[in-house]
Amino acid sequence: VAKDLLQELQTIRANAVTNLEAQQQRLLADTLKNLEQEVVNIVSRLPIQDGALFNTRLAIEIRPQLQQAIEELYLKPVQTFIKDYDKIAGTIVATYGKLPIPPEFKQITEADLTTIQQLKKIAFSQFQNLGNEFTNTLAQEIYQSTLVGKPFGDVVQTIRDKINGIYQQADTKKREELVTFIQSQKAKGKISSPDVQTAIDELKQNYGSTVTGANLYVYSSQIVGDALMGFDGQFAKFRADELGLTSYVYYGSIIRDSRDFCVEHANRVFTEEEARALWQNDWQGKSGSDPFLDRGGYNCRHHWQPVDTDWGTIKDDGTFEYTVE
């Protein structure tokens, strides 16, 4: 196993995840724009009296339509995102195929297919729960607004806020440009760059006065990233267990806002036991105590790369260097 090849395999896997996430973040933005418009259309079909919704019976009965819109325009597109996890599974198996492992593990096995199917269901359930929660949120908003006679324009604004927050469909060209710029940069993983932060600040300052709390876009965007990374991590771990590999390199690039924990442990090699013990500690940005599920925390870009310690040497600082030629 050549040193360069092993490093290249790590990079291929990380790039596959990054590229798929970028694609899915772009699609998510489009998906939620469509959903926002459809929900506004549904509410706009309710009768209005003196500038406000007034029929509470119809406001209650609108719920199935909201649920159907969430299913058709949110969950079905998300389902296609998750089907694309096959690309990540394929990349993981293909990269393992370049390693000195038994030939039967160089292809997708029956056990792999079962695991992939289950992991997809788990990933999807996160979106499904969120979809259900937001169906309730929107239904309650419409009913309560009808009950108290909230002006219809404000109801529509609240719905847009709850679905897309500051990224809602714009009524001015300048706002549209800011939203498009931020979402395109986000899809490229450049959310923390100064230009993007400036654009977000401008958007919040000038257009975000009505937006309070989180929204479907913010939660979904986070799940798009974390579910994909979670799938990648869990499937790679499953394969490592199948192969009997017991050591893992905590691999990934360091960016400006990387957690101190990730900076400190990047490229270090751990046994599973060591990783599990270390993950019992606390650090800023930690989201859970399972190293393979949670890694550094929300939005963490680090992967666990299974290795055989015979493929390299562990240096004094705990980092792993591939040396096998």
């Binding site: 395999l9 159907q68 389902q79 096959d86 079962t114 992939i116 999807f124």
Partner: protein, 72 residues
């Protein structure tokens, strides 16, 4: 059907559709019933049935499919 009864049936069917029963057969049958409540033309209904039967995907269900490995 009177308009009122038609509306009641449609509401009932929409509630059944929203009940999230994990069955492709159930979902397809409800979709067909909804179509019958609002469409009368037999030829159009036949085409709708065929389109409903053609779609096998149920939200949240993932088929156990073979995966092609990329060339690395």
């Amino acid at each position: 059907l009177t308009l009122e009864i038609g509306q009641l049936i449609l509401e009932l069917l929409q509630q059944a559709k929203a009940s999230n029963i994990k069955s492709a057969t159930f979902a397809k049958e409800i979709d067909k019933q909804i179509a019958r409540t609002v469409i009368e033309d037999d030829t159009t209904l036949e085409q709708i049935d065929s389109e409903i039967d053609g779609g096998t995907e149920v939200v949240g269900e993932f088929a156990r499919e073979q995966i092609n490995l990329p060339t690395i």
